[in-house]
C-alpha cells in the first residue's frame, strides 16, 4: 500500500441525527437525516472495557495473554455544542430529553418520569431514540461513526447579548448502550440546517427572573436527565432507562438595579419557591423559556463595566405546573 496523499480538514465531517425506527435500530440512517450546527466534531467517548494490568508471571512485564477488551457492554457518550436552530433536528434533541413528541413544545411536565426503552422494541414516540452519525465527506478515504439508540442526557440553551448578536447556542450530551458502527461507509441523505431560523435574544420579550422584570445580559438553561443502562445482549445493553431526577437549572446574568436589588437578600431568606415568572423569555417558536416555580441556588454580585448579578435558580415541581416549557411551536 502506497502512502496516501489525501488530506482532510477537521471541518469535513458533519453531525446528523434521525429518529430511530426501532430503539437502537440502524434503519434510521437509511432515511433523511438532519444536520446539527456544531462548532466542531469532537471525538466521542467510546469507553471500551480494557484491562492492561500486570498479572502474576515471570518478570515484571505486561503479558499478551493478560490483555482483555470488551466493546459490547459499554456506554458511548457524544458531546456536542454549536449554534441553535429552530428546526426539526435541533428540536429533536430537546424533545428526546423531555420525551415529547415532535408536535409539542419541549415540556417537562409535573411529576415527569421520562421513558424507559428496550433496545429493539418499537420506539415510544418519534424522538425517543436517536441515531447520530459523524459523517465524513468521502467514504472511500474516510469512515463514518454511527451511534444507534442514543438518548439525550443533557441539553442546554444559552445566549449572551454581547456575543454573536445574541444568537442562541446549544450544548448536548448523548449516550447509548448499543455497540456503535465505527467503520461506516454508508452515505445517508443529510438535510442541512438553514441560517434563517436561528433564535436571537433581540426577538425576545417579557424577560423575567424570579418574578422581576430584568435587564438580561446572558443566560444558560440546562435540562439534565441521566440515563441508566442494564441487561445484556450481543450488541450491547438491553434496556435504557432514566435516572432519579430530571433537573432544570438556569444561570442568568442580569443588571443590578432597583428591580433586582432585593435578590441577594431574597436568596438568603427564602423559605420556599418563587411561584410566578421564575424565568421567562418570550420567544415565539424560537426556544422561548418559561419556568413558573423555582428556588434560588445562588445570587452574587458580578463586577464588569457595570454591576451585574449572577443568578442561579432551580425549577421546582409544585405538582401542577411544568418544570419548564420551551416554546418550539409556531
Amino acid at each position: 500500500m502506497a502512502v496516501s496523499a489525501k488530506v482532510f480538514s477537521p471541518k469535513e465531517w458533519k453531525v446528523a441525527i434521525v429518529s430511530d425506527a426501532t430503539n437502537a435500530g440502524d434503519t434510521g440512517i437509511g432515511s433523511t437525516m438532519l444536520q446539527l450546527d456544531v462548532d466542531s466534531v469532537g471525538m466521542p467517548s467510546l469507553n471500551p472495557n480494557q484491562v492492561v494490568d500486570v498479572r502474576s508471571g515471570a518478570g515484571r512485564t505486561f503479558k499478551d495473554e493478560d490483555f482483555f477488551q470488551d466493546n459490547v457492554l459499554r456506554v458511548s457518550e457524544i458531546s456536542l455544542s454549536g449554534t441553535l436552530h429552530s428546526d426539526a433536528g435541533h428540536k429533536q434533541l430537546l424533545q428526546n430529553i423531555t420525551n415529547n413528541t415532535s408536535a409539542q413544545n419541549g415540556i417537562v411536565d409535573e411529576n415527569h418520569t421520562g421513558t424507559d426503552q428496550r433496545y429493539g422494541a418499537n420506539v415510544t414516540n418519534n424522538c425517543s431514540s436517536l441515531t447520530l452519525v459523524m459523517q465524513p465527506s468521502d467514504v472511500t478515504n474516510q469512515q463514518g461513526l454511527e451511534f444507534f439508540g442514543c438518548v439525550v442526557t443533557s441539553f442546554a440553551i444559552s445566549a449572551d447579548a454581547g456575543e454573536e448578536g445574541g444568537r442562541y447556542k446549544f450544548s448536548a450530551t448523548l449516550q447509548t448502550g448499543k455497540k456503535p458502527d465505527l467503520a461506516s461507509t454508508a452515505t445517508p441523505t443529510i438535510t442541512a440546517y438553514a441560517n434563517t431560523n436561528i433564535p436571537k435574544l433581540s426577538t425576545a420579550t417579557g424577560i423575567r427572573t424570579m418574578g422581576k422584570e430584568v435587564v438580561l445580559g446572558s443566560f444558560t438553561t440546562t435540562i439534565e436527565h441521566p440515563a441508566v443502562f442494564s441487561g445484556v445482549t450481543t450488541s450491547g445493553y438491553e434496556v435504557v432507562g432514566r435516572g432519579a431526577e430530571i433537573a432544570v437549572t438556569t444561570e442568568a446574568q442580569v443588571k443590578y438595579d432597583a428591580n433586582t436589588k432585593t435578590m441577594i437578600n431574597d436568596y438568603d431568606v427564602q423559605t420556599g419557591a418563587n411561584t410566578s415568572n421564575s424565568f421567562v423569555i418570550v420567544n415565539d417558536n424560537a426556544f422561548g423559556i418559561n419556568v413558573d416555580n423555582a428556588v434560588y441556588t445562588n445570587v452574587a454580585l458580578s463586577e464588569g463595566d457595570m454591576m451585574m448579578l449572577d443568578v442561579g435558580i432551580k425549577s421546582v415541581d409544585n405538582g401542577t405546573n411544568p418544570l419548564i416549557t420551551v416554546d418550539v411551536t409556531s
Binding site: V280, D292, T320, N321, T325, D327
Partner: protein, 58 residues
C-alpha cells in the same frame, strides 16, 4: 371569550400561548383583569372563570 382569575393569590401557570393570549395579557390576567383568550386550557380551568359573551341588543 373573556376570562378572569378566581383567586389572585393562586398560582396561575404561564400557558398564555396554549390559550391563545400574549404574555402581556397573561400578566394582566394574573393582576386580576379580564382578558380575551381563544381557549381555556385544562391546566387553568379550575383557576379562572369564563365571562359570558353578552349579545348586543339590536
Amino acid at each position: 371569550m373573556k376570562i378572569a382569575i378566581i383567586d389572585k393569590g393562586s398560582s396561575l401557570p404561564n400557558c398564555w400561548k396554549e390559550c391563545g393570549a400574549s404574555f402581556e395579557d397573561w400578566e394582566e390576567l394574573k393582576a386580576g383583569k379580564e382578558v380575551s383568550v381563544k381557549k381555556v386550557s385544562d391546566s387553568i380551568k379550575n383557576l379562572v372563570k369564563v365571562k359570558d359573551n353578552k349579545k348586543e341588543s339590536k
